[in-house]
Every structure is written in structure tokens, then in C-alpha cells.
């Protein structure tokens, strides 16, 4: 555990964190340790109760979009009643941001909490089918852990709805809701146009409720302890806690659960309490996120109200501080090249725009930019925004724009043929291998 979260949790056991991850160590919870800590899952029998509790708790989706969970559940219930079709519930563990590792860590350490949440959500939605969708290309063999967990639950007949496990292809977009539906239906994991909304017409035309795995783990605890307990941490408008992936400059990666509204300063401080130099930068929210100058970050807190003021969002809780020997433009160019290669290639603005933006940034990063390169990148970023079936071009454009603003001084240096980076080894993690054929999307 971290110094930061221990400070917050000192004393009061009701508000103590972590709530989701095992306490004191990296030992995974099996069915026995899980039930010893949390107790059996509390089925409600009356589905309406959970909607009311989730609404009172103010829980929002932890996959990045922060959409109110109760409202999404209500939309699915309405569609199911109107069309007389039983809904499908999907736990989305396909965290595609390469810089994030919180969902994989949660599934590895506390799979039963997620599966509890999935059962309760299936009960609340009146679903006949539940699916858990996850990535396999991670450090730990999450698939094996999940199969084991499902078997443990089957042995004690804990589940009312059978859970099906599904593996996501290693693509950036595979966790996007409509891409997920397309993949589960046997097609490639590429986004489709909305409408129809998947809450109305999703998997095989059934109303479909997709929730991030961390969101479901929170649901499992709200069902046990109630909305007031959930609100004991966090802010009034953004209650609760969330899992964060924090990548420090020294290369250390830690997954930690923090209350919303926590000062960024305390999250990104190095172990000896040293805060970030004012000329440095912080990446908030991953590769669809925002570069924030350290000077600005020191005044911000981890919630959308605070971050929204500078155009940033909490997203899936990714905070990265590259070391001082790396050039922010070089890092950004490498990431945007990856994002461009991960375009599904179906919408013109994304297909044509992102490779151009990536090439422009590479030109800027390698220190031999033409005079109009920066203006070109800014223009293209504006032209791709809001014009895709999904938000891939929008998120990429936001990331690029924030880099040009945050690293403005570095852009000037590059225009003069200089670069402040002394270490060319990329710091931000980039998966290797891009899609070459249709098979790579299946």
C-alpha cells in the first residue's frame, strides 16, 4: 500500500481504503478469503432496490466515461420492459489503455468481488445471461484466475446466472462498448454506429448492460453496506473511491485505491515526498487523456469538477509522470503513432487523419519540422474531432492538443533543431504489433 492512501485511511475503519483490493499484500482472494472478508453476496429478490441504492450512492462508471450507473441500469430495464426482451449483462474488463493496469489487477486479486457485482447486476436487470470480457495479454494469467473463480463459485452454487468468459483481442478499441458487442456476436472488435444504443439493442438485439469490472466491484460493496457507506469517501458530487494506475518517473507502477477529490500533488509525489518540478508535465487519463503542466497539477484534485476546469478528465484513473530526461514531444509522437495504427480504419476522418497527425508529430519530435507542421497538426486535430463512429479520433486529438500546449517551449526548441530529451528510450508503454489483417480484430 502507499503512503498516500494509508494517511487517508488512518483511524476510521468505516472509511478505510482499500475497499476493493485485498488488504496488506498482493495475495489474491479465493472464495474462502473473499467470503470471510465480505460475506456472501446479498441477493435482493426485489430488483428495484439496487437501482434505488445505486442512485443514492451516486456511483458512476469507472471505465472512464463516469456515466451514472443507476441511469444506465434504468435505461436497460425500460428497454427490456418495452420490448419484452430479457437483457444481457456484460462485465467489461478489457482495459485498452496500455498505461492502465487497474482492471487486470482487480481481476487478478479480487475476481469474486467483480463476479458478485455481475450477479447482482444481472439480478437487478432481470438478465438471463452474464458475460465477463477481459484481456489475456497481461503480466498475470487473468484467464486462468477467472476460470478458477467461476469453478469455485459453481462448487458452492453461489451464482444464479451462468457466467460466460470471453477474451478480448489485444486492440486499443476492443473495450469500446459497441466494439465489445460486435466481438461477442462473433465479429471483429470494431465500433459500430450509434443509434441504436446498446442499452436498447445490443448483443443479438437484446438490451445490453455493459459495466466496467471495477464498477461492478463497487456495486457488490454498495449492495452489502449501503449508499451512505459508499459516500463516506470522495466528494459530494463525485462520491466513492476509484482504482488508479500511477506510473512514477522512476519506473515504479502502482495500482492504488484513492478517494475521489484527492489532491494530485500527493498522488504523484516521489517516495521521499519530493514533488514534481514546475517545468515537468503529468499525463492524466491515459492516451485519450490530457497532458497537464506540473505547476497546474499541483492545484488540482482527482475529480472531474476540478480537472474539468483545465479540460482534463479523471478517465480510468491513469497518472503518469515521465522522468526529466524524456522529451514530451517524442513520447507523444510514439503514442499517437500507436493510436493511429489502432484505428479500426472504417471512418474516413480517423483513417486518413490520425496517420497524418502521427507523421506530423514524428516530424516535430525528430527536430526537423517544416514551418507549417505545427499549424497542420492543430488543423487536422480539429478536423477529425467528433467525426467518428466512436471517440477514438476525439480522444487522440485531445491528447495531441494538450501536448502542443503543455510542451510549447519544447516545440520552440524543436523548431530550432534542439531537443531537451537525452534518453530516447520510450517511457510510456506501447504494445508492439498492430493489426494487419481482419484476424487481428477477432
Amino acid at each position: 500500500m502507499t503512503t498516500a492512501t494509508q494517511d487517508m485511511s488512518a483511524g476510521d475503519t468505516a472509511t478505510s481504503l482499500p475497499r476493493l483490493l485485498p488488504r496488506g499484500g498482493q495475495l489474491a482472494e479465493d472464495w474462502h478469503t473473499h467470503t470471510a472478508r465480505h460475506g456472501r453476496l446479498p441477493y435482493r429478490e426485489r430488483p428495484g432496490d439496487l437501482v434505488r441504492d445505486l442512485n443514492a450512492a451516486g456511483l458512476t462508471g469507472r471505465g472512464g466515461a463516469a456515466f451514472p450507473v443507476a441511469r444506465k441500469l434504468s435505461a436497460v430495464l425500460d428497454a427490456a420492459a418495452k420490448r419484452r426482451r430479457a437483457p444481457v449483462v456484460v462485465a467489461n474488463g478489457a482495459e485498452s489503455e496500455p498505461a492502465s493496469d487497474k482492471d487486470a489487477t482487480l481481476l487478478w486479486l479480487a475476481p469474486h468481488l467483480v463476479l458478485d457485482g455481475l450477479q447482482l447486476m444481472a439480478e437487478a436487470a432481470g438478465a438471463q445471461a452474464a458475460i465477463l470480457y477481459f484481456h489475456t495479454d497481461r503480466r498475470n494469467d487473468v484467464g486462468r484466475r477467472l476460470r478458477q473463480a467461476v469453478a469455485e463459485r459453481a462448487a458452492v452454487v453461489a451464482d444464479r446466472v451462468a457466467v460466460q468468459l470471453a477474451e478480448a483481442p489485444p486492440r486499443f478499441l476492443s473495450g469500446q462498448e459497441t466494439a465489445l458487442i460486435s466481438h461477442l456476436a462473433g465479429g471483429p472488435a470494431i465500433p459500430t454506429f450509434v443509434p441504436p444504443r446498446i442499452t436498447e439493442r445490443g448483443l443479438d438485439g437484446a438490451p445490453t448492460l455493459v459495466q466496467n469490472v471495477e464498477t461492478l466491484a463497487h456495486v457488490a460493496l454498495i449492495a452489502r453496506h449501503g449508499p451512505a457507506w459508499f459516500r463516506q469517501v470522495g466528494t459530494k458530487t463525485e462520491p466513492g473511491s476509484m482504482l488508479c494506475t500511477i506510473r512514477r518517473a522512476d519506473g515504479a507502477v502502482r495500482i492504488t485505491e484513492v478517494p475521489l477529490g484527492m489532491p494530485l500533488k500527493s498522488l504523484i509525489a516521489s517516495p521521499d515526498g519530493q514533488s514534481l518540478g514546475p517545468d515537468r508535465a503529468l499525463l492524466v487519463g491515459g492516451y485519450h487523456g490530457t497532458w497537464v503542466p506540473a505547476a497546474a497539477a499541483s492545484r488540482l484534485t482527482l475529480d472531474n469538477h476540478s480537472l474539468g476546469a483545465i479540460g482534463a478528465r479523471v478517465g480510468a484513473g491513469i497518472l503518469v509522470t515521465p522522468p526529466p530526461d524524456r522529451c514530451g514531444l517524442v513520447e507523444t509522437a510514439a503514442v499517437v503513432r500507436y493510436l493511429a495504427l489502432e484505428s479500426a480504419g472504417q471512418c474516413g476522418p480517423c483513417l486518413n487523419g490520425l496517420p497524418r497527425i502521427a507523421a506530423g508529430l514524428t516530424e516535430l519530435a525528430t527536430g526537423r519540422p517544416r514551418r507549417q507542421t505545427q499549424a497542420d497538426i492543430e488543423r487536422w486535430a480539429g478536423q477529425v474531432t467528433g467525426r467518428g463512429a466512436c471517440h477514438h479520433p476525439d480522444g487522440t486529438a485531445r491528447f495531441v492538443r494538450s501536448a502542443l500546449i503543455t510542451f510549447a517551449a519544447e516545440v520552440d526548441r524543436h523548431n530550432q533543431g534542439r531537443c531537451s530529451g537525452t534518453n530516447k528510450k520510450p517511457f510510456l508503454p506501447i504494445p508492439h504489433g498492430s493489426a494487419r489483417t481482419e484476424e487481428d480484430w477477432l
Binding site: E342, G345, A358, W380, S434
Partner: protein, 212 residues
């Protein structure tokens, strides 16, 4: 040929609206082909091509309706009202008028499914819309067979001209589709093109993406 008087007015009106309807339907088919490739017309934004395709199709319906109603109202030949939509129901030029009815039926299906497209699945709408490729040739055959005056002179040139441009348009559409890269290969292809600044590909990609 006699001039226009009370007994020939309907006959002339039917011929004239038929010719205009054929021209409009030809334009609609060409615009539809352009829409499927996200093509542009000079001076028009992308959405206007789709809008023109849709609006011209509705105007074409008006002319087809006038064409059919005047032909039925014209007492010189006996075409019952049912023959407008039921194939082979006309005693006069049974087969050739029947072709017109077939084309009209298909057109109605295509237009009605487009008007209620919001409520249909994309697959169903598209399946019906593809029938437009059958509707146009049938309409053309109807015009060339049932009207003796289309078999020579300016109207023959016009009809053959319509057929030539539609065949050329469909040929262009098929050739464009054949030269498409599979979806999954497009991104990597464009990436390698824009990352080699000296190549001609770079310039072409830049031209294309200057308006992505």
C-alpha cells in the same frame, strides 16, 4: 403528327412526364452510386449529395405518378387503374406496361423503406435499397418497349444516353470497390505512405487528408 388538343393532351402529358421521370431516375441512380463512395459534386458539401439523391427521388415519384395517372385517364387506350401497380393487368401492351408496374412497385418499396429507415435495421433497409439496381433497367425497358416514339429520333438518343451513363456509373462503382483495400489493411497502408516524406504516396495522402 397531330397537335395538342383535348383528345391528345393527356397522351402528350403522359409521354412528357414519362421522359422526365426516366431522366430523374437516371440522375437518382447516378447520385446513389456517388453516395455509396462518399463522392462529392463540385461546389457541394458531402451531405448535399445525399440530400440531392433523396430529394430528386421524391420528385421522380411525383413525375411517375403523373405519368401513370395521365396514361390511365387517357381514354384512347384502355389501361385500368390496377395496372399501375399490378403487373400484367393491362389489356393494352400487357407485358410492356407490366414492366412499368414492376419498376413502380420496387421504387415504392425503396422509397418507403428509406422514409422509415429510422425504424428498420440497416441490413433490411440495404437489402431493399439494392433492388433499385433492378428497378432502373426495368423502367428503361418499359420506356423503350411501350412507347413507339422512343424507338427513333431525339428520344431514342436520350434513352440510349441514359443507359450508357448508368452502365458507366455501375462500372465505375464496381471498379472502385475492386481496388479497395480490405478494411484491416487500410491503416497500416496509409501509415507507411505518410511516414515516407519523399514518396509520391505522401503527397497523395496529404492531398486526401487535407480535408479528412
Amino acid at each position: 403528327m397531330s397537335g395538342i388538343n383535348t383528345s391528345t393532351a393527356l397522351w402528350y402529358a403522359s409521354r412528357a412526364t414519362g421522359v422526365v421521370a426516366l431522366l430523374l431516375m437516371t440522375a437518382v441512380v447516378l447520385l446513389g452510386l456517388l453516395v455509396t463512395r462518399q463522392g462529392r459534386l463540385p461546389g457541394l458539401p458531402g451531405f448535399a449529395v445525399t440530400g440531392l439523391h433523396r430529394n430528386l427521388s421524391l420528385i421522380a415519384v411525383v413525375f411517375v405518378a403523373l405519368h401513370v395517372l395521365t396514361a390511365i385517364a387517357d381514354g384512347y387506350v384502355n389501361i385500368p387503374l390496377t395496372a399501375a401497380v399490378v403487373p400484367l393487368a393491362s389489356p393494352y401492351e400487357r407485358l410492356w406496361i407490366g414492366l412499368g408496374a414492376v419498376s413502380l412497385d420496387i421504387s415504392i418499396a425503396v422509397i418507403v423503406t428509406s422514409l422509415v429507415r429510422r425504424h428498420l435495421s440497416r441490413g433490411l433497409w440495404r437489402a431493399v435499397h439494392l433492388l433499385a439496381y433492378a428497378s432502373w433497367p426495368v423502367a428503361w425497358l418499359h420506356s423503350i418497349t411501350s412507347a413507339t416514339d422512343v424507338r427513333h429520333g431525339a428520344l431514342l438518343v436520350l434513352s440510349v444516353g441514359c443507359a450508357v451513363v448508368v452502365v458507366a456509373g455501375v462500372g465505375w462503382r464496381l471498379a472502385a470497390a475492386a481496388s479497395d483495400l480490405p478494411r484491416a489493411e487500410r491503416v497500416a497502408h496509409l501509415m507507411s505512405a505518410v511516414h515516407h516524406p519523399m514518396s509520391a504516396m505522401h503527397q497523395r495522402a496529404a492531398d486526401r487528408t487535407s480535408r479528412p
